[in-house]
């Protein structure tokens, strides 16, 4: 399938994208149009963020823009510059679903989306637009405005329980690696298939939410799951690939039907003629739109780790974690580790931010040098999903540091301002276990919320 591409007619061959590609997938001579080696590409979209080679009236003429826009299936309402490196848009599928009276639309948006979306409407960098995004979804006509943050809380229940099982009962390989980031999972499957037992079996929050939409969501809303179109908005270009994986159909249907990036959501809002800046804040729908601060911090590096520790601590010790802000796991690009005291247990955790930094960690693991680690979080993009390939693209890279910092700050502030900051305290999480899932790692969870990984030789993505 096509996810990220470079348009040969527009590419100047500068190879600036090759410098940021964590998979060394961009090939070509300096000064010549580049191609993406799809056997290597993990579809993270960092090249899309980097590319500045735009369709120009000076270089390509006055008619070129319209031609490229049409070729890419981008709505006529879009006026912004188009670049050589781009992701394939699925906006028209979403528009069709919204316009079809026989289709019930359920939407979810990842935590990082709300830290970037407003930038596309002229705000300062990292301005929070969570409740405003919910209002935009409703104005667009989505029938159920749910939230990936709910599934992030659900992920913590499952992944936290899985970690405890692996650590205390010796049931499963250690260290356990997070599995939320589809580019990372793809990289692991392709390059270190012998290590995939180390990956958590948990699906990503997007896929958990999708599986829940068409089962529990259909049940409580008395809907035929076949009529549901499950739309997800992600800061990520790889999520479209993730949702199209053949095993992602736990509900009996494709769990997530279509993915838009944060940038494409902005297109959709503009295309519908909605004045985003004039929208009044609204709430997400219950119960699959209820979330805690722990769910929100999934958007930044170290966030999954911190959220897991907040719940894991309580599950293991039966006591509340003394300090809810775990600053030891926060930080920027690279590999960092910390020892976290959980009752009698010293939990050794590691956080990888930026996929390039995972290679030495995996090589150490293979060589038996990575001793004592229990849990390692890996995110492909520089500082986690807030810097994802589908996020608003900066016109000037000199603003990058400020953008990353502001989006990260907004994420932690939102967490701090929420009344509930631990996943297991989310009343709707309690409800879904009581009414539907029964228990973490139970039979239903196993079927809907967990997955398995490819172990064979590297698979070509076509």
């Amino acid at each position: 399938m096509r996810v990220v591409e470079i348009d040969k007619n527009i590419c100047t061959g500068c190879r600036e994208c090759a410098k940021v590609c964590p998979a060394y997938a961009i090939e070509g001579e300096q000064g010549q149009p580049q191609t993406i080696n799809t056997d290597k590409c993990v579809m993270c979209g960092q090249c899309v963020q980097k590319c500045k080679s735009y369709v120009s009236i000076v270089t390509h003429g006055y008619d070129a823009y319209e031609k490229v826009r049409k070729e890419r299936g981008i709505p006529e309402s879009v006026k912004e510059p188009l670049f050589a490196a781009h992701n394939i848009t699925h906006i028209n599928e979403v528009k069709r679903a919204l316009a079809d009276p026989n289709v019930v639309t359920m939407v979810q948006a990842a935590p990082a989306v709300r830290t970037g979306l407003a930038e596309e409407f002229g705000s300062e960098l990292g301005k929070l637009a969570s409740a405003r995004m919910a209002a935009a979804f409703r104005a667009l006509g989505f029938d159920y405005v749910y939230d990936t943050n709910f599934a992030a809380d659900l992920t913590i229940m499952e992944e936290g329980s899985e970690l405890i099982k692996r650590v205390t009962k010796g049931d499963g390989k250690l260290p356990m690696f997070t599995s939320c980031c589809p580019a990372w999972v793809t990289f692991m499957e392709r390059n270190y298939p012998e290590l995939t037992d180390h990956l958590s079996t948990c699906k990503s929050p997007q896929q958990m939410q999708g599986a829940v939409h068409k089962t529990y969501g259909a049940e409580i809303n008395k809907l035929d799951k076949k009529k549901i179109c499950s739309v997800s908005v992600m800061p990520c270009t790889c999520k479209e690939y993730e949702c199209s994986r053949e095993e992602m159909n736990a509900s009996g249907e494709r769990d997530v039907d279509v993915v838009l990036t944060t940038r494409e959501l902005a297109w959709l809002i503009k295309d519908a003629g909605i004045d985003f800046n004039k929208l009044k804040d609204e709430e997400f729908d219950n119960p699959l739109g209820d979330f805690t601060g722990a769910g929100e911090i999934f958007g930044v590096t170290g966030g999954v780790m911190e959220a897991a520790l907040r719940t894991g601590y309580e599950l293991i010790t039966g006591k509340s974690i003394p300090a809810i802000d775990i600053s030891d796991v926060r930080g920027g690009e690279g590999f960092r580790s910390a020892d976290i005291q959980v009752g009698d247990l010293t939990l050794r955790v590691g956080i990888v931010s930026g996929l390039k930094h995972v290679v030495p960690v995996l090589e150490d693991l293979k060589a038996g040098r990575l001793n004592g680690y229990h849990f390692i979080e890996v995110m492909t993009c520089p500082v986690g999903c807030v810097s994802g390939g589908g996020q608003p693209k900066l016109l000037m890279d000199t603003d990058k540091e400020k953008a990353y910092k502001s989006r990260t700050h907004t994420t932690y502030k939102m967490d701090k301002d929420l009344p509930i900051r631990k996943s297991h305290e989310n009343p709707s999480i309690k409800k879904i276990y009581k009414e539907f899932l029964k228990e973490p790692l139970g039979e239903k969870s196993h079927h809907l919320l967990h997955t398995h990984y490819k172990k064979g030789a590297a698979k070509t993505i076509k």
Binding site: K52, Y54, S123
Partner: protein, 184 residues
């Protein structure tokens, strides 16, 4: 104050042709007039830079105005739309420019392009609905904090601001040092 106007020049051995300079140039010049923010989604008009990546077989570099001391464009402009500031920079007044292209003809470097004029996020139109096009060239980011955006954003530090006075002095010193060292 310098005796001469300053200008930006690119080093073709460092330039990769990424166009970050063109995009930054456009972004900085359209923040106020066209509501351009930090991200691509805030742009609603064609990208009209004031420097132009020039790509040849073996190398590439952006070409921009040298702010000539005896500026052919300024001398050629019959509408007095090109003027020199106190800092000696040569500037196009887009409100006076009629797009006659005399400056394009006069410039020996091709540093001027005739590009559409946008205001408040839309094209400015003439009576016959034709888009207004005016001369567009480097103004050395006059009035923009931090100086020329192209220099700031270049990922390869291929662009620099040249001050002819400093250039002469630095080269004089180097030549003197060379002569001094070789006297034995």
């Amino acid at each position: 104050m310098s005796k001469y106007s300053r200008y930006v020049v690119a080093d073709s051995s460092k330039c990769t042709g990424c166009k970050a300079c063109e995009l930054a140039c456009f972004a900085e010049h359209n923040k106020k007039s066209n509501g351009v923010g930090f991200t691509v989604g805030t742009v609603e008009v064609p990208v009209t830079p004031k420097l132009y990546l020039t790509k040849l077989e073996a190398y590439c570099m952006p070409i921009q105005c040298k702010h000539c001391e005896d500026a052919p464009c300024l001398n050629a402009c019959q509408k007095h739309a090109i003027y020199r500031t106190e800092d000696k920079q040569v500037i196009v007044d887009e409100n006076k420019c009629i797009g006659c292209k005399d400056c394009v003809m006069a410039c020996p470097f091709g540093a001027i392009a005739i590009l559409p004029k946008s205001e408040k996020g839309t094209f400015k139109l003439q009576k016959d609905k034709e888009v207004v096009k005016v001369a567009s060239k480097c103004d050395l980011c006059e009035g923009i904090e931090g100086g020329p955006a192209c220099v700031r954003v270049c990922p390869n530090e291929a662009l620099q601001i040249i001050d002819a006075d400093c250039e002469t002095l630095a080269k004089n010193i180097r030549a003197a040092e060379g002569l001094y060292a070789s006297r034995f």
